[in-house]
């Protein structure tokens, strides 16, 4: 298995970090705010 070969450790680590940071960025800037906006809108139209 190449994951266990020490030669690829740095590569995996760097790609893992890049992917994780992109995911966190997207979630905090787009996905979660959109979800929150949907929740609040739903509450608004239900209460009004």
């Amino acid at each position: 298995m190449p994951q266990l070969v020490p030669f690829y450790f740095v590569n995996q680590l760097s790609f893992g970090l890049i992917l994780l940071s992109v995911l966190i960025y997207l979630a905090s800037k787009r996905l979660l705010p959109q979800l929150l906006q949907r929740f609040i809108s739903r509450i608004f139209i239900t209460l009004a």
């Binding site: 905090s28 979660l32 705010p33 979800l35 929150l36 906006q37 949907r38 929740f39 609040i40 809108s41 739903r42 509450i43 608004f44 139209i45 239900t46």
Partner: protein, 172 residues
């Protein structure tokens, strides 16, 4: 004159002041006018009830000095009521009338505005679409403060709305 008195008697003051939704100052002016009208009517009635004829023969038989009775009779017969110039009062009445008309116009304009609002609300109600057809963008367009709330909550790191899941169920 008689027709105006009849018309004035027909005015339903309580309805006029309560049900028409007039401004406070208009109601106060109307009440003051009513008071003045009642007072004037009372004074006119009191004056009408007073005697206007004098029996001079009676006084001639009573008094020894006939000359003074004759003089009084002459004075009475030559008496002519002084004509007063009512122009100033008419001017005041006109000013009051113009003010009342102005207020009435304002009230009409206000009522018209309210009617327009109500009509637009009615058309809005008639044209409402079911909740399923409304998109989040449309709601945010109608209520821009939602964006501010979202921004504030994101800054605070608050990703959930309190009471949402209890209201709509978990995972909905």
């Amino acid at each position: 004159m008689a027709s105006s008195i009849r018309a004035a008697a027909k005015v339903d003051w309580s309805k006029l002041t309560v049900s028409l939704g007039l401004k406070k100052e208009t109601v106060a002016a109307l009440q003051a006018f009513r008071k003045r009208n009642d007072e004037a009517r009372r004074v006119v009635l009191a004056l009408k009830e007073q005697k206007t004829d004098i029996d001079f023969e009676h006084y001639r038989s009573l008094l020894k000095n006939k000359g003074i009775v004759n003089e009084a009779e002459k004075a009475l017969s030559s008496f002519k009521p002084v004509k007063t110039d009512l122009n100033a009062q008419m001017k005041i009445v006109e000013i009051i009338e113009s003010k009342a008309v102005e207020n009435a116009k304002k009230t009409v304009a206000r009522v018209d505005d309210e009617l327009k609002d109500l009509h637009s609300t009615l058309t809005n109600i008639e044209q409402t679409r079911p909740f399923e057809d409304i998109t989040v963008e449309e709601i945010v367009k109608a209520k821009p403060e939602i964006n501010d709330i979202v921004e504030k909550m994101v800054k605070r790191g608050q990703w959930g709305v309190p009471g949402y899941e209890e209201k709509f169920g978990y995972g909905s």
